[in-house]
């Protein structure tokens, strides 16, 4: 007999196998998920969830697909959160501190409560990356926020109304496009292709009979 635990989905009690995740436990209980379920492997942030263990006053946040159920868990999923994304033209904006002031001025209202960091389902130092954004240290903000899955748990808890994932995303796009050094070998190869440097070679290999292709493939040298 497998071990069972009692969990409460939106306040209603269900007995579910202890080894399940919150997501698979909801399905075990009979829910057909539409919202609050995406990649099911911890990459998309669709299944942001809040819970509290009976008898414990701490409110916790997690991804339902990455969290095992526990006895006495009171669970509520967050089907949607109105994150406040500002729009911009990536070709027009500049990688400086002013851009954060212009697009996300509310980051300067951060009161340093650290609720965002405590809520992060990826264990990121969210308040720290917001601090980097405030100071215009975009590269550091990009690096610190890199593993963000945009579940929005930080924003749910923020008293200043900051949409942290959007701030990190802006910093990463600016860093990727403007701050990180150009890959010169890439630029060169793109030019060579546009100039037709490989046109004849590619046509030739496309025409080769399968037997010759097998020969080429099976004897190709492999970079160490």
């Amino acid at each position: 007999m497998e071990k069972m635990v009692n969990v409460y989905f939106f306040g209603k009690k269900y007995s579910v196998p202890a080894e399940l995740t919150i997501m698979t436990a909801m399905e075990y209980a009979g829910y057909t998920l539409k919202r609050g379920c995406g990649c099911r492997h911890g990459f998309c942030g669709a299944c942001a969830t809040i819970y509290r263990i009976k008898g414990d006053n701490e409110l916790k946040t997690c991804l339902a697909c990455q969290t095992q159920v526990q006895e006495g868990m009171y669970v509520a999923s967050i089907p949607f959160f109105p994150t406040d994304k500002r729009t911009y033209d990536i070709e027009e904006i500049k990688p400086n501190a002013q851009i954060m002031m212009e697009l996300y001025p509310e980051i300067y209202s951060c009161i340093g409560c650290n609720a965002c960091t405590k809520a992060c389902t990826q264990d990121l130092n969210v308040m720290q990356y917001i601090a980097y954004a405030q100071r215009g240290e975009l590269e550091k903000c990009a690096e610190e926020s890199f593993d963000c899955v945009s579940c929005g748990c930080c924003s749910v808890r923020c008293p200043a109304g900051i949409s942290h994932p959007m701030v990190g995303l802006l910093a990463r796009r600016l860093t990727g496009k403007y701050i990180a050094p150009e890959a010169k070998h890439l630029t060169k190869r793109v030019e060579e292709i546009h100039e037709g440097a490989y046109d004849d070679l590619i046509e030739k290999i496309m025409q080769k009979p399968i037997t010759e292709m097998e020969e080429l493939y099976n004897n190709r040298d492999i970079e160490k």
């Binding site: 095992q68 995303l169 796009r173 970079e223």
Partner: protein
Amino acid sequence: MYAPYPENMMESIKKVEATRAQRMATEPRRLTADEKDALLKKFHPDYNPDAFAEIKVGPNKGQKAPLELADMLHSTSRLMTDNVDLTKVDYDVDVLVIGGGGAGSSCAIEAHKAGANVMIVTKLRIGDANTMMAEGGIQAADKENDSPVQHYLDCFGGGHFAAKPELVKRLVMEAPDAIKWLNELGVEFDKQADGTMVTTHGGGTSRKRMHAAKDYSGAEIMRTLRDEVINRAIPVVEFTSAVELIKDEKGQVAGAVLLNMETGDYSVARAKTVVIATGGAGRMHYQGFPTSNHYGATADGLVLGYRAGAALLYQDSIQYHPTGAIYPSQILGALVTEKVRSVGAQLVNANGEAYIHPLETRDVNASGVIRECEEGRGVDVPGGAKGVWLDTPMIEILGGEGTIEKRIPAMFRMYMNYGIDMRKVPILIYPTLHYQNGGLEITGDGFTKEIPNLLVAGEAAGGIHGRNRLMGNSLLDVIVFGRNAGKKAAAKCKDVELGEMNLDHVKAYDEELKAAGVETDHVSPLLLPHYARHER
């Protein structure tokens, strides 16, 4: 002692540790072409005759498909029982993109750039897609010792010489430009201090051309594309499925019937060109395999396209990724990126033997894992399954302390959630259903042959990868063929004059099913897998 696994697994780990130094001193031999063939024929799931059925109707009549896909092709359309008034048009656009993953989003961005009135409709949210979950990287031949021709050879040979040459050509020739385009949108690729891309091998590559963004490569690409779609104010209708294409009397596609996933209400989208970018089929769980795919990967686009008359290609060729998580049960089927092997981990059986080269192509490595388990050299997992080890501590020995957290942070995090520190102990894996090698057949320009204004891009398309896809060629394919579809669809819609919208093809298909004596009580497309357990 640190023991995050059950006793039998810890016993096996002792053997893995005992052979590690000696294994690290020699690279496992690569198999010959004949050895690979023999291994595939004996152990690859595609060679299991009991797992396939004959398709009874339509353009691929007489060919085989996985049982579950054949069932969907033989099932009834929702619109045979539900009535939809096609004269009430809810959305009227130039380009309708079905699917909000990497291909759909790239397509929409390019169509928008070309001035078309484009709309995305997607079953879940934009970005809820396999693209988001791609971990290891994206190929492009942009280094000095590499060329698009070399990339062509790897792709074509790795796919068992079955890919369509004009599709492979587009894939490899437009690869560097795809990377540049992404980089200029702000995707943060791993680079050295001088800007040189950090590139590694994938299974079956002959040059190190795997570009990555840690092991969040797909997530980094997808969130950037999604942000760009929103910045451009391209309409995205979420939680809405296309359940059938609409055609006109000229045989053109004219839009789609949409279903609101939450309310159950239908709506009608009219479009001059339609792009199917609905992705894969992992959630069909062919042959009972767990899957690395997202929740909505149910082959919907194949069903829509097929009913409208578009042919499939290589619908019987499925990719099982060799390294899916098999323990602990909470992450069953989750992808353990090939990058774990790119950065040094070997595949090791229960006896501590590195029984194969870790970077053979995926079909070969998957077959190898299955062979070890079937022949008694697998590690038993509670519940009855078996797996082999991926010797992750090697990565830290080879690359130095901290390599795992720096290069594969998502993997580290996924296992640490369950108390398994892959820096110290190996992780246990077994193949997971990962990718649909085939799909709707397209021309070099991305159109279906049968319907002049219907395009397909991304995993829903077939022929680009032949019968086995290489790591890093799918992220590449969604960008290259997604962008291409956006440009071509935007150009094409200028010459399309739509006629009267109808669903005659759905009725005709149903007649064909009846005439063939096929009866199922199922409805397709599936839209979402049936995971809810109901006691009554």
